[in-house]
């Protein structure tokens, strides 16, 4: 479970995304692990009855675990002085039997959606299983929300499940030691994943370039927790992560069709090639940088075809098929103004009909 201490309020977020303030519903007999961080000053999560207390620091995760034995309501205090309403930052811990806890979990309450917004009254059920599962698998919806976030933010583009993407595959990363570019090894725990997402340049895994954009300030704490839950869920050493999470099978990259594409001079674009191009565009991770929202590291491609493009060296050129092809194969040649040349070179990695599919797809992106 994830706890966020804010000045004079505790946000508690259950594995399935259900959120509550100043309250903590816990099943008995289950070891519960709290992953806590603070948004402003130092607080301290203190449950006298369970004899546990741990300071909650801004800027890093601290963890606390306990196993409730007797159902009932217990006090929850903030033990580290944190300002005017320090004495109001209290709450109750409600320990329930397992099935009561299940029932409570599914009652509608506000839930964090993948884009970080909070919607009340909506229960995030795990799509591929009918009822809520027992035990650790409860965190599916959280992982599912994390997974949706993972694709929508474009992480899936680089961190391809099967590997071979520009970023390392994240399968079975959590809980294992990673060897870093400078040869040192580090245990991939919550803090490692948090800092790798927020400040990605710090710990580059061996054999990969520091290309990943820095997400600090772009994603909220809740989204960060969801991503963390997803990454934990796809590693079999994830502790409270179920092994049975439906892993987003990578769409099999389409076997390049041998159909010779009609010469591209014809109509605006060839629909069939464009759809294949689109899948390729996602799988190769182009979508991660060339985001439609324009926020990505690469320029926005929608409506690019046949438009005047200003290049870094000041000259400008019309984005015709030849320019697109050349930019894909030898990306550093003509870099668009105020973008830095970090696009990987696909010369020799892509067959030319794959390139043609991509070009057709880009042509299909009309404004």
């Amino acid at each position: 479970m994830y706890v966020i201490g804010k000045q004079w309020m505790w946000h508690v977020q259950h594995a399935n995304g259900k959120r509550e303030n100043n309250e903590l519903h816990v099943p008995i007999g289950q070891p519960v692990r709290l992953i806590m961080t603070s948004q402003d000053v130092i607080h301290s999560f203190y449950i006298p009855a369970f004899r546990i207390k741990q300071d909650v620091l801004p800027g890093r995760y601290t963890s606390l675990w306990f196993e409730a034995t007797k159902p009932g309501e217990y006090h929850l205090f903030c033990a580290e002085y944190c300002g005017t309403e320090h004495s109001l930052m209290i709450g109750t811990v409600i320990v329930m039997s397992l099935n009561e806890y299940q029932a409570w979990l599914t009652t509608p309450g506000d839930v964090i959606m993948p884009d970080g917004s909070i919607q009340a009254g909506q229960v995030l059920l795990n799509p591929n299983t009918s009822g809520p599962q027992l035990g650790p698998s409860l965190s599916d919806p959280m992982a599912v929300a994390g997974e949706q976030l993972f694709t929508s933010l474009g992480c899936a583009g680089c961190h391809v499940e099967a590997g071979g993407g520009t970023g390392p595959s994240l399968r079975n990363v959590f809980g294992y030691t990673q060897t870093l570019a400078d040869g040192s090894t580090v245990l991939a725990d919550e803090n490692y994943i948090r800092t790798s997402i927020l400040t990605s340049m710090k710990q580059i895994v061996q054999g990969y370039q520091p290309v990943m954009p820095v997400y600090e300030g772009q994603i909220s704490d809740d989204q960060l927790n969801q991503l963390l839950a997803y990454i934990v869920s796809i590693s079999n050493r994830g502790g409270n992560a179920p092994a049975s999470v439906p892993v987003a099978e990578p769409q099999p990259s389409p076997a390049p069709t041998s159909v010779p594409a009609p010469p591209s001079a014809g109509g605006p674009f060839d629909a069939d090639l464009a759809t294949k191009g689109e899948q390729l565009f996602n799988n190769l991770g182009c979508v991660a940088c060339h985001q439609d929202s324009g926020l990505g590291l690469g320029p926005r491609l929608r409506g690019l075809y046949n438009r005047q493009v200003a290049l870094a060296d000041g000259s400008s050129i019309t984005a015709d098929a030849a320019y697109l092809q050349e930019s894909i194969l030898n990306s550093a040649a003509k870099v668009v103004k105020d973008y830095n040349p970090i696009m990987p070179v696909y010369q020799g990695q892509l067959k030319d009909d794959e390139v043609r599919q991509l070009v057709e797809y880009i042509k299909s992106l009309t404004e």
Binding site: I42, Q54, D55, G83
Partner: protein, 551 residues
């Protein structure tokens, strides 16, 4: 030696005009006068802190907390913390009794640097003015520990004013410590070897070692927080990569030795009282002397036990917990030796002795609960609760203040030449003892049940403890007011006390009661060891006892 006639004693001056009189007191370099100036200013701050304490206690009678708003309550308990710690407990015994008695006990005419001594009093008052101005213009709401990032970026009360007050007081404490070290090393009377020194001097020596080694670190910690507040640049602020725990390390590196600054001189006073009132040589002189030094040294290694739950690494928690057990040993040695001194002594229950016995009892409770807090596992439950509040009040109020009052009563005839009223003295000692226990013992129970510290509003089930504690606090408050009344009265109506009303040993008892300005006409030569009471003192007392003479 100034050949002019030595004035009758340090209190009377040949001042003719009022300004002359004021100048003779405010610009004095006589350690005895500076001690009196300290006595007055420290008692003023003690009453101010006590007032804040009583307001906090009255506020806590009701769970909803309706006497004052939460913010006012936070400022009140911070005021109580800052005033009591920085402006009463740390300077109390070293400055008042230390200044007065250290030169007398070692046979010197004055401290090594008299002008520096006056400067440290002015620094103390300067710091006090800063703290008062801060208190009046709205106080500070960060708690006396000033934890960042709250104190550096989230609190908008005048933190800088209070911090500079504590910063300046730090210098006064350093200068006093420095003065004592040099005096004790260099200005002992001929024949006064280290092992003939009274134990009060050993304790003060150890205290001043801590003062000069620890206080600068507090100075730098507060300075850095002030820089952070002024330029909005975070050194302890996690947003800028800083670490709030670094502040806690620097702060507690000073503050734990500071609690030993508070308790060590109190132990020195108690060693004097116990041997004087059981008319017996102190048992295990070397042990007590060296345990003072041991406390001073070990005190520097244990500060981490204040930070067990603050995500300090588990391994350092282990190390600090182990060394905390070691630091408890010297205190235990002292208590054993005191009780051994009492054995077979002819104990007379005069007021100082009542305070001394009260000290031993309460200090044991305080010390042992300290061991609970030293163990990491237990500490996780009880830290930042009222258990901790009760623990350090047992050691500070039960220890330092009881010893302070006992010392004031014991040396009152020496300071003023007048005896206090014995009956009132006994009453005040009992009232203080009862009031104290009634205030703080319920807090142990409440703390263990989980009542957190610094809470303005609390769940109902703790109310009975709070009501009990507030009742006790009023008795305790009364107990502190009574001595002020009868001690001031004794100045005018008190029986004139001769040079040695307690028939005690020690150089300070060999000169006139309000000692002359230059202490010793001729530098005394010390021949026997510190507490040279006759072997059969107990036998002599028992057969010379008649009904009606003091117990």
């Amino acid at each position: 030696m100034s050949t002019s006639a030595i004035p009758q004693n340090y209190t009377s001056t040949r001042a003719d005009s009022a300004t002359e009189w004021i100048k003779s007191w405010l610009l004095t370099v006589d350690h005895k006068r500076i001690a009196i100036l300290y006595l007055l200013s420290i008692n003023f701050f003690f009453l101010l802190g006590g007032l804040a304490a009583s307001l906090v206690r009255v506020e806590l009678v009701t769970p909803q907390g309706d006497l004052m708003t939460a913010d006012m309550y936070n400022r009140m308990f911070t005021l109580h913390g800052v005033i009591m710690v920085f402006f009463f407990l740390i300077p109390a015994i070293p400055a008042v009794m230390g200044n007065f008695l250290v030169p007398l006990m070692i046979g010197a005419r004055d401290l090594a640097f008299p002008r520096l001594n006056l400067l440290s009093w002015y620094l103390y008052m300067g710091g006090g003015v800063f703290a008062l101005v801060a208190a009046i213009t709205g106080g500070v709401d960060t708690g006396w520990t000033f934890y960042t990032p709250f104190s550096s970026s989230y609190s908008n009360s005048n933190v800088i004013l209070t911090m500079s007050g504590a910063f300046i007081m730090g210098f006064s404490s350093i200068l006093t410590g420095l003065n004592f070290i040099v005096t004790i090393h260099k200005m002992r009377a001929p024949g006064m070897t280290w092992f003939r020194l009274p134990l009060f001097i050993w304790a003060n020596y150890a205290t001043s070692l801590i003062q000069i080694l620890a206080t600068p670190v507090l100075g730098i910690a507060l300075l850095l927080v002030m820089v952070e507040r002024v330029w909005r640049v975070g050194i302890f602020d996690p947003a800028l990569g800083g670490d709030p725990l670094l502040f806690q390390h620097l702060f507690w590196f000073y503050s734990h030795p500071a609690v030993y600054i508070m308790i060590l001189p109190a132990m020195g006073v108690i060693s004097e009282l116990i041997s004087a009132f059981s008319r017996k040589r102190i048992f295990g002189y070397e042990f007590i002397a060296f345990s003072s030094i041991a406390i001073a040294v070990l005190g520097f290694l244990v500060w981490g036990h204040h930070m067990f739950v603050s995500s300090q690494s588990v391994y350092s928690g282990l190390v600090f917990s182990f060394i905390t057990m070691l630091v408890a040993i010297p205190s235990a040695i002292k208590v054993f030796n005191w009780t051994a001194t009492l054995y077979k002594g002819s104990i007379s229950y005069r007021t100082p002795m009542l305070y001394a016995l009260g000290f031993i009892g309460l200090f044991i409770i305080g010390g042992l609960t300290g061991i609970f807090l030293g163990v990491v596992a237990v500490d996780i439950h009880v830290t930042d609760t009222y258990f901790v509040v009760a623990h350090f009040h047992y050691v500070m109020v039960g220890g330092t203040i009881m010893a302070y009052l006992g010392g004031i009563h014991y040396w009152w005839p020496k300071m003023t030449g007048r005896m206090y009223n014995e009956a009132w003295g006994a009453i005040s000692a009992l009232v203080v003892f009862v009031g104290f226990n009634m205030t703080f013992f319920p807090q142990f129970v409440m703390g263990y049940l989980g009542m957190p510290r610094r809470y303005h509003v609390y769940p109902e089930e703790f109310q009975i403890y709070h009501v009990l504690s507030t009742a006790g606090a009023s008795i305790l408050g009364l107990g502190f007011i009574i001595p002020i009344i009868y001690l001031t009265l004794s100045l005018f109506v008190g029986k004139v006390a001769g040079p040695n009303p307690w028939a005690a040993t020690g150089l300070e008892w060999s000169i006139a009661s309000p000692p002359p300005t230059h202490n010793f006409d001729q530098t005394p030569v010390v021949t026997e060891e510190a507490y040279a009471y006759p072997e059969d003192a107990a036998a002599q007392d028992s057969d010379s006892w008649q009904a009606g003479s003091h117990l």
